[in-house]
Symmetry: C2
Subunit: 381 residues, 2 copies
Amino acid sequence: VIIPPVKLNLSGERFRVTYRLAGNRELAMARANDICVEQTIEFPAELVPTGDIHDHILGQIESLEEVSTDVHRGVISFAVEITGFELKQLINVLFGNISIKPGIRIERIDFPNSFLDKFSGPRFGIEGIRTLLGVKSRPLLCTALKPLGLSAMQLAEQAYQCALGGIDIIKDDHSLANQSFAPFKERVARCAGAVRKANSEGGHHALYAPSLTSAPDRIEADALDAKNAGAGALLICPGLIGLDVMRHLADNDRIALPILSHPAFQGSMVTSPENGIAHGVIFGSLARLAGADSSIFPNFGGRFSFSRDECHKIAIGCAEPLGNLRPIFPTPGGGMNLGRISEMREMYGNEVLLLVGGALHQGDKGLAANCRQFREMVEQF
Amino acid sequence: VIIPPVKLNLSGERFRVTYRLAGNRELAMARANDICVEQTIEFPAELVPTGDIHDHILGQIESLEEVSTDVHRGVISFAVEITGFELKQLINVLFGNISIKPGIRIERIDFPNSFLDKFSGPRFGIEGIRTLLGVKSRPLLCTALKPLGLSAMQLAEQAYQCALGGIDIIKDDHSLANQSFAPFKERVARCAGAVRKANSEGGHHALYAPSLTSAPDRIEADALDAKNAGAGALLICPGLIGLDVMRHLADNDRIALPILSHPAFQGSMVTSPENGIAHGVIFGSLARLAGADSSIFPNFGGRFSFSRDECHKIAIGCAEPLGNLRPIFPTPGGGMNLGRISEMREMYGNEVLLLVGGALHQGDKGLAANCRQFREMVEQF
């Protein structure tokens, strides 16, 4: 069954994906050839229609070089048109089927600007969030309301103390969904109200970011309701609700709130050095393409296992040029405490949203006083 | 900052998650304790509020046993209420933050029936799809329209040949999104029309399943439009659009079409034996909870690397008792050909949807004739 030559109307623009390929040159070349087919036409090689499908739709190996023994780096390019200029299909081309094949890891992606122009990306980014908060140059402060099981009233009391203490962004813990203990609607109303009250009393401009986990048909309405109730940002787990749902919320002009992206359920993509997607890509460039204004990730030396270098690469991914897409705040957290602040400042510089959670509840001084100490430490920089 | 004892109104019902934990007993116990905290309260142990948060919201280690040297199996239970009875938050509790921690793999989940009753699950399942197709007991046949780059008219011609040849379910390749070559709306209209024509000429009851990748605000409307245009099922990639979006589409009484779940972008969860979620859980029980009627996965010995045992476990996950949730069709594919059919029948029995794609285009006899041969082979069972 031979398909006649196909003529398509293609621009010639291609994006380039750099893969780490496990194996010697022969195996790495086989993997690269496989990616070219698997991520595009998934069709027996001998039956590939001639013409544009063969010449342009198939992935093209641009280079293949040895990095170390049994590790190669391959660059493969794809015609921009096969994404349909949609985020979901881009992700599909990048790592859909090959997510199931071992020994392949995406290390970086280079998009032509004409492609990036199809995406709005972060609505606020670093500059937009600084403007909202009225904070020029110091690192920003973030904390999380927890633990799961507290009532909306108890969480609101925490939010009040944190805002009084000078935290910039007070987010729900990502475990807070719509449980009976603290239903979303009541929690948002109480916490937003508490932060508003503290702002008017303490003179700060804290933002409250509820965790948005609503069902697909309610998520936009719930985001709007949260905004109307006084929420100043949104916490989103793209691994749970979908990267494209995050993008869709970011693109909504009526919602128009900064988005903090949380890495829950995305970890499997980064835990193996041989498979998956590099930290800087999934928590940097792809988070930006999907509209995040802040990318939360576990800092090195905390409760999680990211290395210093992996965290550094996330920070680079949040800031490096990406067409006209705004740079965003790397947001390291996960078991941080005030003893780590100066080290974090040293590593990330000023363009960072520092996330300290449970540690602010420790000691005898009280939550607001601990937050104040956090704020004072950061203001000294 | 001590939080006063909290009293919650909990049912006492818990679900049990079995984890493979890497490490000796001490390390495995540390991982188990960590899961109990990380997946629930994420709060310093010494500050955990007494009362119900400590006694019930925290995960509880039910057992921990050695499986082999440096491998343990731990069972941890969680109060059903912390999920808010929502799929996204269930996934979050199961594997949100710990997806970022190496050495933890979910091996199985046991839910109380009262919990499963909150989910509708597959609308059709095996029995419902058999009724739609009018096929009592033989294995069902599936193929994919491809390659990417063909026009809607060319794909429709393929669909026509496949339906004439007796394929039961003719799905879009998952690479077909809304590219200019074959836009979704035109493709659905033409392919559905072609299958309808072939059904009336050939006497079969083939269903056409378009790949649905629309943006969040259009996906329901596009599914309904596809149904109105004659689509008989839907192909969904939950890794790309979100498990909960798939569930939401499955639950929609107006759409009411069988859903084929495709594993794109979910592979990272299964590629490492030490991390992630076992094949039978992610492609079996969780796919069912999320409303899939068929779970597509790469069969062993094809283009992918799943083992025979891993595929067997997916088939078990598709069929084993899961409250009132219907059993669904395991749908092995990924580089299959007619030479593999009797082996697949032997392994999966009759309750299987056999997916053969590119191989049906090989040889000189033509697509319809190859499909007919596929059908005849299966009818002999």
